[in-house]
Amino acid sequence: MDVVTVEHLSKSFGDLRVISDISFSVHQGEVLAIIGPSGSGKSTLLRAVTHLETATRGTITICGTRILDGGVYADAATLRSALLKLGLVFQDFNLFPHFSVLRNITEAQVRVLRRGKAEARERALALLEKMGLAGKASAYPCELSGGQKQRVSIARALALDPQVLFFDEPTSALDPELTGEILKVMRTLAAEKMTMVVVTHEMGFARDVADRAMLMDGGVVVEEGPARELIDNPRNERTRAFLKRFSESGRT
């Protein structure tokens, strides 16, 4: 079953068309990696699918519900309930600084999903444990390292039981020695068959963990295929050039 289907999606800022005629789908339980040079529209694509930006054209279907149909959005209630099935992890975490770690993870469960306080708390503590942050429930975000903050933000997203979790360069704001702890968490999630769409520059991670990969350049999808194949034997000239630049700069 497809969790997300995107057809002919375009987004312009004024006259600037940033993504153009993009189609792809994400199947239940798979990991899709989106790679590509900076400025190629990867963030805009995630933001358009998660409705942080309004798309200009195209169709988006989430778990069978069409939220965007030929450039026209569904009504607010349909949109809202469908979007609840998506989670998004930001590059710079965007934790709520005035809430404790625990409350960062419980607040939406209580206010949005109307879970009981005790249940929300239990779920949050279990997720913190899983993220290796068992002792940090009462800490505040400002007391955490970048890697710890990102793990809290992943827990915050997971607490709402999304059908699919989007990541926009989840390790790019971190010191290199902290990226490992985030990638490890994501590997665990992948092993548990969490459906994920990951924008990343970590080619090793994309190659080993993702089932499929998609290369974007200039706002379009240049190549798409099984992750390992696409990264090891790219067919497209632009993919090859991108990966070559990458391995030369030593970031694979």
């Binding site: 979007l83 710079d92 607040e107 949005v112 975000p141 915050r156 997203a157 709402l160």
Partner: protein, 211 residues
């Protein structure tokens, strides 16, 4: 002497009343004003902006006179002087507080709204549970300035004859050919503002648990 002190005590209670009532009305009123100032609709934004411009651009003393005498000249309606003072102070201070709120609201990073939206929070929850608490922390220092100014501005109520502390002190001082009452009034304002500063310091310390 005792009589003078009694009168001054009464005067300081009037000043205190002006101070507290202004805060009670102006602090909440400033929120819709700030939101109106940031409204996407010109129809809302332009008049609110004009209101703020006038309030900040003309002397408070003039506004007090206007609020009290305009109804009289227009409709021959006269009303309580103390009420006029509270109205004038409230609309004036709401404008200043609104600009402080606006600065605070606009300083909250866009990412906070985006995270809230992705998590499914309603707009009201986003504003009241996520944005506003952070705004309060950020605007405390600027608000302290404004509140301290308000303590001293209460002396302007005498413009339309309200017997607040400074007027009482001036009268007593004229009667007794002595500057002592004025000096006592000065001590009162000082003590009052010392308490205000202390209250704000405590609030800041209370919110220092995060950054």
């Amino acid at each position: 002497m005792v009589k003078m002190l009694g009168a001054m005590l009464e005067g300081s209670l009037v000043s205190l009343e002006i101070f507290l009532l202004t805060l009670v009305f102006a602090l909440p009123l400033a929120l819709p004003v700030a939101l109106g100032r940031m409204s996407a609709s010109r129809l809302v934004r332009v008049p609110v902006n004009l209101y703020i411009l006038v309030m900040r651009g003309t002397p408070l003393i003039l506004q007090i006179l206007f609020v009290y005498f305009a109804p009289y000249y227009l409709f021959e309606a006269s009303y309580d002087r103390f009420t006029a003072v509270i109205v004038a102070f409230t609309v004036n201070y709401a404008a200043y507080f609104a600009e402080i709120y606006r600065g605070g609201i606009q300083s909250i990073p866009k990412g906070q709204y985006e995270a809230a939206k992705v998590l499914g929070f309603t707009r009201a929850d986003t504003f009241f549970r996520i944005v506003l608490p952070q705004v309060v922390k950020r605007i405390l220092p600027a608000s302290a300035n404004e509140v301290i100014t308000l303590v001293k501005d209460t002396a302007l109520a005498q413009t339309i004859g309200v017997a607040e502390l400074f007027r009482v002190a001036q009268n007593a001082s004229a009667r007794q050919f002595s500057t002592t009452p004025i000096f006592i009034a000065g001590v009162f304002y000082f003590v009052m503002n010392w308490a205000v500063s202390e209250a704000f310091l405590r609030a800041e310390r209370k919110l220092a648990y995060y950054s």
